[in-house]
Assembly symmetry: C2
Homo-oligomer: 312 residues x 2
């Protein structure tokens, strides 16, 4: 049989697990710190090597993550796993450094309307803020991840020009950000968007320093991951169970579920290092704590088919 149609996909990819931060900050329920500790430790045991644990935003803005420092102090960190926390400004960075976290993340977007509504700054103003944050973080020996939201579609402006995505990404890399995660915030992107925008960017910028962050709101996340793989991107963000973000209706997905990403990769013969059954058990526990059904397809399947034992 011919191998003519077997594509040159990478042998392995990195998954950045954002459930504890991007997921839980969007869940109405505030979980106790012990539950989050068990969640994060479980994720590392399931094989996730990069975990965004929490955020040093103002506790009043995101009460779900108000226990950031306590959480970081309580998690038993595994060697070989990189733990990170989001930081909105210099004040947040100071708290992050004090917490002993190794890696921080900063957050901007490719469209001004979105950053204005979301972080009350223009894209340019946010980059100025982050220049200081990144410099101080680097001086303190931390590595830095940058998120760029609305890389394909802005909920206020519509289609986003790939050049705008390129410019903000380049600025972040130039100021010392180690990896930039390009996000489809609305979940509206399709593979042609990925080919166009990510293809354009990777003509100039190093693929190794880029990650893709898709939402499965319209069911296109895995199609977009495949487009990214084809373009040579090797790092993808996802959220255990599909935690976080039900923008339209209960049961609708926000973040791409890590289980669904792991399934796709495994069946494509691409190594992620994650044990799907273990991960589903960890996500199943959080689902129970939140008392709501999480959108992950594989989580549903494994719960039903194997009567997955979920400890309480």
């Amino acid at each position: 049989m011919t191998n003519r149609y077997v594509k040159d996909f990478p042998k392995s990819v990195n998954i950045v697990e954002v459930g504890p931060r991007d997921g839980l900050q969007n869940e109405p329920e505030i979980l106790p710190v012990e539950t989050k500790v068990a969640f994060i430790e479980g994720l590392a045991e399931a094989g996730l090597r990069q975990i965004e644990m929490t955020s040093f935003v103002h506790p009043k803005a995101v009460p779900q993550l108000a226990d950031a420092a306590q959480l970081i102090a309580s998690v038993t960190q595994q060697p070989g796993v990189v733990y990170s926390a989001l930081v909105p400004n210099v004040k947040g960075l100071e708290r992050a450094i004090e917490s002993g976290i190794q890696r921080i993340a900063v957050f901007t977007a490719a469209s001004n309307s979105f950053t204005k509504k979301n972080i009350h700054m223009t894209v340019g103003e946010s980059l100025k803020t982050f220049e200081q944050v990144v410099q101080k973080a680097k001086q303190a020996g931390l590595s830095v991840r940058g998120y760029v939201s609305t890389c394909f579609v802005c909920p206020y402006e519509g289609d986003v020009d790939p050049k705008d995505v390129f410019e903000v990404t380049q600025r972040l890399l130039e100021m010392g950000v180690d990896e930039v995660s390009l996000g489809d915030t609305v979940g509206a992107a399709v593979p042609t968007d990925v080919y166009r925008t990510v293809g354009f960017i990777t003509e100039t910028l190093a693929k190794e320093r880029l990650a893709l962050h898709f939402h499965d709101t319209f069911g296109t996340a895995l199609a977009n991951v495949c487009a990214g793989l084809e373009l040579g991107i090797r790092t993808f963000d996802s959220s255990a169970g599909g935690l976080g973000g039900c923008p339209y209706a209960p049961g609708a997905s926000g973040n791409l579920a890590t289980e669904d990403l792991v399934y796709l990769l495994a069946r494509m013969g691409i190594e992620s290092g994650v044990d799907l059954a273990k991960l589903a058990q960890v996500s199943g526990n959080i689902e129970k704590q939140l008392n709501k059904e999480l959108p992950s397809r594989q989580l549903k399947r494994l719960k039903t088919l194997n009567s997955l034992p979920v400890s309480s």
Copy 2:
């Protein structure tokens, strides 16, 4: 800006709407014939050009579709729209011919364990049965569609050999079937499966006579559609609202939702002829009649964002 990463996708595709048959036969609720008539007429008004209306299986086996003849007689057919009905055997074909339908569909699979459990025949036996059916249908001036289930994964046998898919597809085409629809019954396929199996088949068999039928059970349907488009396939099956088949849990998808397919295609610049808002209204009405939330992502979005008017 470069166009280097803009792929050579087709300008237009054909959607075969299977909701009234493949969808409704898997819904526990039996809808009144008037509701189905309005559904099918609405689908044609929304721009669908191929609609599988019903099935001439034994009414006791599928009571949901026991009104097949009455339904076909009651629908006001639109010029340019091809309506079809599933036919399991010669007896069913006779009823189909009597009903005046233009096109029938026959149903087999690529794995023996599946056909044995599902239609109580081996693949070979089913092909013998259909040889007679196809011949008589052709003599009566009908066109014929063939479904091949389990083209990638069999729930009993696991991975399916592309050669087995090739053989059954070739046999169906040789006996006069006009178009063969290759189905991912379990919903477990990923793009590499599509490249391998469909790529292998299209080396010998005409792409124009093949369709792909994906289930979104694990969220891979649209990724698989993109792989199919890349291989030059131009016909895809889907089900309005994602009707039919919740194999694992409520809210889990079976059939790919037509709305989600139409969204993907439209954003990729590929013409399908379907008006998404009109279609969502038609599916919204059926959702109301079935009194359950259908899995289509776009249906959720349009209901929530636009407060879609759904007539009762």
